[in-house]
């Protein structure tokens, strides 16, 4: 067998691929489910924190800033490991899926809060004053005048950050979630052949390549005219 044949037999083995493709596809849907959950809860929580912060209650803001800084400084894998392997020491245990969901949601929440808050502060003061002087209340001003402008401003950084954190779903393989990478690694250890990893990498490309290209488009579409 030539080197090339051996390479093909290792990484593109049709028999192994056929056997483990269903597992990797199952992992693909699980990755999408996990990513969807993280995006929903993470963005919602981040937006909620930014709105809370705009109320300007000092002690509350300190708390928010601390929590945000905490989850921006901690590596996501450390948070996942702490929840999954640490909590049982306190008599609480959670599934790998729940640990990954909660951890990455907290991380996305932190980054989203920071980005949305930067957007809110970037809306000129006059917008607030004008809206309030027309008789809108604080909540109405925030919801109908400030947030729409702020959110539009932060679409590119928010999109990029969300994509980056969503790729962290692969970390869930460390806590035994059979998402794409977990399923692929299981396949490698059963078959003694790296073809399932090739399938896994392809699955990630199918999932994320369009997203990355969309991110490029969003960046151009909402670009700042300098």
């Amino acid at each position: 067998m030539s080197n090339w044949d051996r390479f093909l037999d290792s990484f593109f083995n049709a028999r192994v691929a056929a056997e483990y493709l269903p597992k990797v596809i199952e992992g693909f849907w699980l990755t999408i489910l996990l990513a969807g959950c993280i995006i929903l809860t993470g963005l919602a929580a981040g937006l909620a924190l930014a709105v809370l912060r705009s109320l300007g209650i000092r002690p509350l803001n300190w708390l928010i800033i601390f929590v945000v800084d905490l989850f921006r400084a901690l590596p996501p894998l450390v948070v996942i490991v702490l929840l999954y392997f640490g909590l049982p020491a306190a008599g609480l245990s959670m599934s790998g899926f729940a640990a990954a969901w909660l951890s990455l949601s907290l991380v996305l929440m932190a980054f989203a809060e920071e980005i949305v808050w930067a957007g809110i502060t970037a809306v000129p003061r006059g917008q607030w004053e004008a809206a309030r002087s027309t008789g809108l209340g604080f909540a109405q001003t925030l919801g109908w005048v400030v947030l729409p402008q702020a959110l539009r401003m932060v679409v590119p950084p928010l999109t990029n950050r969300t994509i980056a954190i969503t790729k962290g779903t692969a970390l869930a393989s460390v806590v035994a979630v059979q998402e794409i990478l977990g399923a692929a690694q299981a396949g490698v250890s059963f078959s003694f052949n790296p073809t399932p990893l090739t399938l896994g990498a392809l699955a990630y490309l199918v999932l994320f390549l369009p997203v990355v290209i969309l991110g490029r488009w969003v960046e151009a579409r909402f670009a700042w005219k300098r």
Partner: protein, 226 residues
């Protein structure tokens, strides 16, 4: 569970004293690892950014494909592929080599995108003016364009570097004894979550100043975009 049990499980002083030498060794390895992979990724990024200044479409499209490919694959997937896959191709790689290859490809793509945006933000007149004073193309790039480019994207560069240092925690998956790996070892020996908690605290203390700095820079940047 009482509050004392909770303290015993997460903040036990005896366990911390026992685990400290192991954690400290891991912390030093994390620093060394960062000192290896950050420059490596940065060099990769500079190469990509310089190539992108060539206008030829034979360089441009393969470059975009390369960058998008490695931005689409989650870093952990890349790392596992290199570490678990290459031996099947007859290349036995050490954990450190695997991490270095994975980070070179992944973070190089991110640094490359940032630096490219930086170079594009410098008006073309700067190059023309530099060339007309007698500088060669290389001198103009090195002495005139790059310094301005780096300054324009400094917050993004710092932010990416922060992410890279956090990302070194995935090296624990390939048994490289950095901070998270050491903490997990200590945790599995002591059946206590204190070592992981301590690792989280170490990461936080190490990276919090960077997060603070970034948050200031980002707010200023967003405010400047009104």
């Amino acid at each position: 569970m009482t509050f004392d049990d909770f303290l015993q499980a997460f903040f036990s002083w005896e366990i911390l004293e026992q685990a400290w030498p192991i954690l400290w060794a891991g912390f030093l390895n994390t620093l060394v690892l960062s000192a290896v992979v950050v420059p490596l990724g940065f060099i990769g990024g500079v190469i990509l950014a310089l190539l992108s200044t060539l206008r030829s479409r034979w360089v441009r499209w393969p470059l975009i494909a390369w960058v998008d490919l490695f931005r689409s694959l989650p870093p952990l997937v890349l790392l596992v592929f290199v570490y678990a896959g290459l031996p099947f191709a007859g290349l036995e790689v050490s954990p450190l080599t695997a991490v270095a290859i994975g980070f070179f490809l992944n973070t190089g793509a991110y640094y490359g995108e940032i630096l490219r945006a930086g170079i594009e933000s410098v008006p073309h007149g700067q190059t023309e003016a530099a060339r007309s004073t007698g500088l060669t193309a290389l001198q103009a790039l090195g002495h005139v364009v790059l310094p301005q480019a780096v300054r324009n994207v400094l917050p993004d560069l710092i932010s990416n570097t922060l992410e890279v240092v956090k990302l070194t925690s995935i090296a624990s998956v390939v048994a490289l004894p950095e901070l998270l790996f050491q903490a997990r070892q200590a945790q599995s020996v002591t059946y206590n979550a204190t070592p992981i908690m301590a690792a989280a605290v170490i990461y936080f203390v190490l990276l919090w100043p960077v997060v603070r700095l970034l948050s200031r820079l980002e707010n200023r940047q967003m405010a400047g975009r009104r």
